[in-house]
Each structure stands twice: as structure tokens, then as C-alpha cells.
Amino acid sequence: MSGNNDIIHQAVRLRIMASLNALAGGDAIEFTKLRSLVETTDGNLGSHLDALERAGYVAIEKRFAGKKPQTRIKATPSGRRAFSEHVAYLREILDQAGPAA
């Protein structure tokens, strides 16, 4: 059985990884759009992204689009792997319960 991943299981971080994992490999998402998708605040998203970046699960790129600063985030290969394993772990927990009555 796969193990629990405490870094990813936190609700906001799980939503972040779910969104990044839905993108094609190598694709990144803008900070503001990710914030809207995971339904959180700038500060909260920033702190959770820091935690995921420290774990090596996401890569954060800061650049300028014209004169406007833009932060783009993408899942790393190890982040995608960790997310898939954690989702498999969650499914195993449900499977152990057997079919719902």
C-alpha cells in the first residue's frame, strides 16, 4: 500500500497539485489563475507554494510580461509522481471500505 504524503494532503496543497497535474507536462499556470482555481488568498497560496517548492514538487518562475511581473508555477516530475502516489493511496483507503451499501 502507498503511504500518506503529509505535504500534499493538506487541503490547499492538494488542490494546487491537482490543478498543476491536470496540465500537460511542462505547462505552467499563472499565480492569479491558480489562486482562483484553488479558491484561496494571495498570502495563503504563496505560503503553500513555498512549502511545495521546498519539497521539490513545484517549480516557480518569475518573469515580466511587458512591464507586468508574472509568476508562473508548474509541477516537477517528482511532484507529479508524489501526487499520483498520494491519490492512489486515497483510493486504496476507499477501496478498503468496500462497495457502498
Partner: protein, 188 residues
């Protein structure tokens, strides 16, 4: 920390919801490019038909050909960037829809140019609504709005029918394409 079944179910539901919404926005971004291309082509087609009604068939053949070829080129380019084999199903889908429409509007029935000019966008918008039921409410709204406006100008716009259609169908596709580009998730 152990995770109970209720928490696991709730987390998986969260994952599914966020991924579904993310993919919806990715699709919006891709669709925006097609809509902008088709919007410009269709607007030009209606204006050209208004100015040269006798060349209607040639004008629309050129518009449809340019739209399908443009879409195919875009998909091939995107596949190359991603290093994936090109997927031609979307192109064949468009060819099938056009062939079906041509058969029933050009061969089996005897519709007037005005009727055809209203029928075609309504036909595409009908499929847009069906598509939207599965992939995003935006398409449902776009399909219904354009269809209703098409019916209105068909009945009441008189000689300005074709310019009105250029604004409604072409303008509608361009405006919605720009909107989708703003809300969608661009790649790389």
C-alpha cells in the same frame, strides 16, 4: 497522520473538482484560437457575400476551406511543440459536419441564400450547445445567444441581414474568443 475514509473521499472529490475546472480552462484557451480565426473568416464571408451575392458559393467554400486548414495547421504546430503525434480527429470532425451540412443544404433541399445564411450558423451553434453541455457552460450560452440573435435578424433585418450576420456570428466568435483567451489557461 492517518487518513480516515471520509477524509479520503472528501480529498478525492476536491481533486476531481479542481482538475475538471482546470481542464475546462485549458480547453477554453485552445478554443479561443479557433474562435478568433473562424470569427474573422465568417465575418469576412458575410461581408463579401453582401458585396458580391453572385459569388456566395465560392466565398463560403473559401471560408470553410481556410478555417479547416488553419485549424489543422494550428493543431500540427501544437503537437510539434509538445513532441506528440498530431491528432486529426478534430479536423475530421469538422469535415464530417461540413459534409453533412452541404449534403442537406446543397443537394437534398432547395433553400434560399438567406435561409442558408441563417441555417449554417444555427447548425454550428446547435453543436456548440451540445458540446457545452459536456465541456463548459460558456459554449451553451454562446450557442444560444448567437442562435437567438440569428433568428431575430433572419426575420426582421431586411436587406441588412448579411451585415447583421457578420456582426452577430463573426463578432460573437471574435468577442467570445477574446474572452476565452483572457479566462483560459495558456500553455507554456
Amino acid at each position: 497522520m492517518a487518513i480516515d475514509q471520509e477524509s479520503a473521499a472528501s480529498s478525492l472529490s476536491d481533486v476531481e473538482r479542481v482538475q475538471k475546472r482546470t481542464l475546462e480552462l485549458v480547453r477554453y484557451s485552445y478554443a479561443s484560437r479557433y474562435q478568433l480565426v473562424w470569427g474573422v473568416l465568417v465575418a469576412l464571408g458575410y461581408i463579401a457575400q453582401y458585396l458580391r451575392p453572385e459569388s456566395g458559393i465560392s466565398i463560403w467554400a473559401a471560408v470553410i476551406f481556410a478555417g479547416i486548414v488553419g485549424g489543422a495547421v494550428f493543431r500540427i504546430g501544437r503537437s510539434r511543440i509538445r513532441g506528440q503525434p498530431a491528432d486529426y480527429r478534430w479536423v475530421w470532425g469538422q469535415v464530417a459536419v461540413v459534409a453533412f451540412g452541404l449534403l442537406w443544404t446543397g443537394v437534398f433541399t432547395d433553400a434560399t441564400p438567406r435561409q442558408l445564411s441563417a441555417l449554417w450558423p444555427s447548425f454550428f451553434m446547435f453543436w456548440m450547445v451540445i458540446f457545452g453541455i459536456f465541456f463548459g457552460r460558456f459554449y451553451v450560452i454562446l450557442g444560444l445567444v448567437v442562435s437567438v440573435l440569428t433568428a431575430i435578424v433572419y426575420l426582421w433585418s431586411g436587406d441588412l441581414f448579411l451585415p447583421c450576420m457578420a456582426v452577430i456570428v463573426g463578432g460573437g466568435l471574435i468577442a467570445s474568443g477574446l474572452y476565452l483567451r483572457r479566462i483560459g489557461l495558456g500553455s507554456r
